[in-house]
Amino acid sequence: MATVVATNETLLVVGGGISGMTAALEAAETGKDVVLVEKGPALGGRVSRLYKYFPKLCHPTCGLEINLRRLKASKRIRVLTLAEVRKVSGAPGNYAVTVSVAPRYVNENCTACGACGDAVSTEIPNPFNYGLNNMKAAYLPFSMAYPQRYVIDPSIIATGEAEKAKAACQYNAIDLDMKEEVLTFNAGAIIWATGWKPYDAAKIQPYGYDRFANVITSVEFERLADPRGPTGGRVIRPSDGKEAKNVAFIQCAGSRDRNHLTHCSRICCMASLKQTTYVRERCGDDAKSTIYYIDIRAIDRFEDFYQKVQADPTVRFVKSKVASITEDQKTGDVILHGVDTEGYHRYDARHDLCVLAIGMEPSVDVRAIADVSVDVSGFIEASIPDGGMFGAGCASNALDVNRSVQSATASAMRAIQVINRVARAEG
């Protein structure tokens, strides 16, 4: 049974993505006790699934590694994974928190040797790769997962498969009797860093994401380009496995649209500009990227990156929101239809693959759990009237990593002040 020692001077951080990790570390390194609650089986959030970061094109694993090192060095952070905050009540300086922890069926004896994974044969869709491939039902979430511990998927519990996994483990790390646990503890302040999720692309009916194999989303494209991803880094078409050389990017897919998300998701222009470099990296001068856009929003210092991509002769920009997509059933090619704004030319453009620069929306509606206020798009307001709860990172707005980290640090500062007030009062 897990227990959490927490007091009214403890900071609760909900969400273990880059923002939640940052907020937890900043607070812990100033001497505060922190409970970090993550819904998934490992920390890292969405950035661990990116191939490279704009604008420097470095690998996200690098930043993750630094944060994990800081985390391991900190005695003040208690990390709960597979844990979800269910209910928060109370007031600043005195919150009562209910968290449910799902069973992992693997305890801390695990050395991540992988014997259980080898032993089972059942496969399930791999959520880390947005379901682009399957994985064993006894799995390590991803290579850099923290904690480095396997997970047994609930779908094989009470089957012979789970018994096989248990038998294969030499370290007595598999415990098939684990049950869901409900924990309750106190907290003085709360940071919501629950992040974002991609908008449901199938809802953009004219683009046929649910009908055409070669229409994919930008988050899936990150996985295709990643050497540790489902294709080993080969950018290939889902329909026939052919290399995609002529790639279309559709901006504002689901964003800035009163039929979908009304806000600008802010990062998707930069994400597509970045992804053209993935195409070039693989196909050299044979690469062909076309960005269909309303206007490119590369804010402040990102303008340099935009100009660099503009200078690449393999990248073409078409100022137009694509009206619809059809599929050439013989070849699997996608054909984009629309009219451009510069000259009002009608086009029916054929591409190997189409990437929807999908919009970001809040991953959960925190209002169902706690008394927070949100803006029209559902993002948590920066200053919640309550005064002891704060939004951080993409839970509070559509932000890139740099701005997420800034926002997380700002929230940590505010939360620390609340806790200091409590400490003084309790003296």
Binding site: P206, C252, R256, D257, R258, N259, H260, I294, K319, S320, K321, V322, A323, S324, H337, G338, V339, D340, T341, Y344, R346
Partner: protein
């Protein structure tokens, strides 16, 4: 140029956007267009338009009054509503197209021979006269609007449709001589006249004899 057209040119000078906002149905939406192009790309008749909706909205803002109002473009709209359902800004594009067409017609500067305009006029006169469409009268007027020879040809082409309508009771074969119209035709005509007066007053379109 008609008197009403003169009046409007005088009143709005070079601010065509303002003129559209005040006088065209749903015209105050025009400024909301962000020029994304989805409407133009979504129109099934798009390739046949001289200026697709997105371009028309830009032309309005650019003050191209004559080019817009004398254009055949908005008369191409078939009310399929493809553009409306896709516009990210929810502009009622279809209604604006009809609003522009109607406004140009009221000003008397719409293209005289535009077939949609002519059909609309025949249809309106037909229904306004009797309070109910006289199918036979409408078809005859429509088929023969370009002269006798073309009319006969069209009538022959459409004869199977006509026979079908006859059989199902949708066409009164004696319509030309014995169309009854609705009850209280006078009442309907009075109502339509009043509605027009109210609308003209609201939109500031009322002029002597317009």
């Amino acid at each position: 140029m008609t008197e009403l057209n003169h009046k409007m040119v005088e009143q709005y000078r070079n601010d065509f956007l303002k003129e559209v906002e005040a006088n065209v149905e749903e015209g105050d939406w025009v400024k909301m267009c962000m020029q994304c192009g989805v409407c133009s790309g979504s129109c099934p008749f798009g390739p046949d338009w001289e200026h697709p909706p997105q371009e028309i909205f830009m032309m309005i803002r650019a003050g191209k009054r004559d080019e817009v109002l004398r254009s055949e473009s908005m008369w191409m709209c078939t009310s399929c509503y493809n553009c409306i359902v896709r516009c990210p800004r929810e502009l009622p594009i279809t209604h604006i197209m009809h609003g522009l067409a109607n406004y140009a017609h009221r000003l008397g500067i719409a293209p005289k021979m535009n077939p949609t305009r002519r059909f609309a006029k025949i249809f309106w006169d037909n229904i306004a006269k009797n309070g109910r469409v006289n199918e036979l009268d409408l078809s005859v007027k429509l088929y023969f609007m370009d002269g006798f020879k073309k009319g006969v040809k069209r009538a022959i082409e459409m004869s199977t449709v006509g026979l079908g309508m006859l059989k199902t009771g949708r066409l009164n074969p004696f319509g030309l001589v014995a169309h009854r119209g609705c009850k209280d035709k006078k009442g309907i005509q009075k109502m339509l006249k009043k509605a027009r007066e109210l609308e003209d007053r609201r939109r500031g379109l009322a002029t002597r004899g317009a």
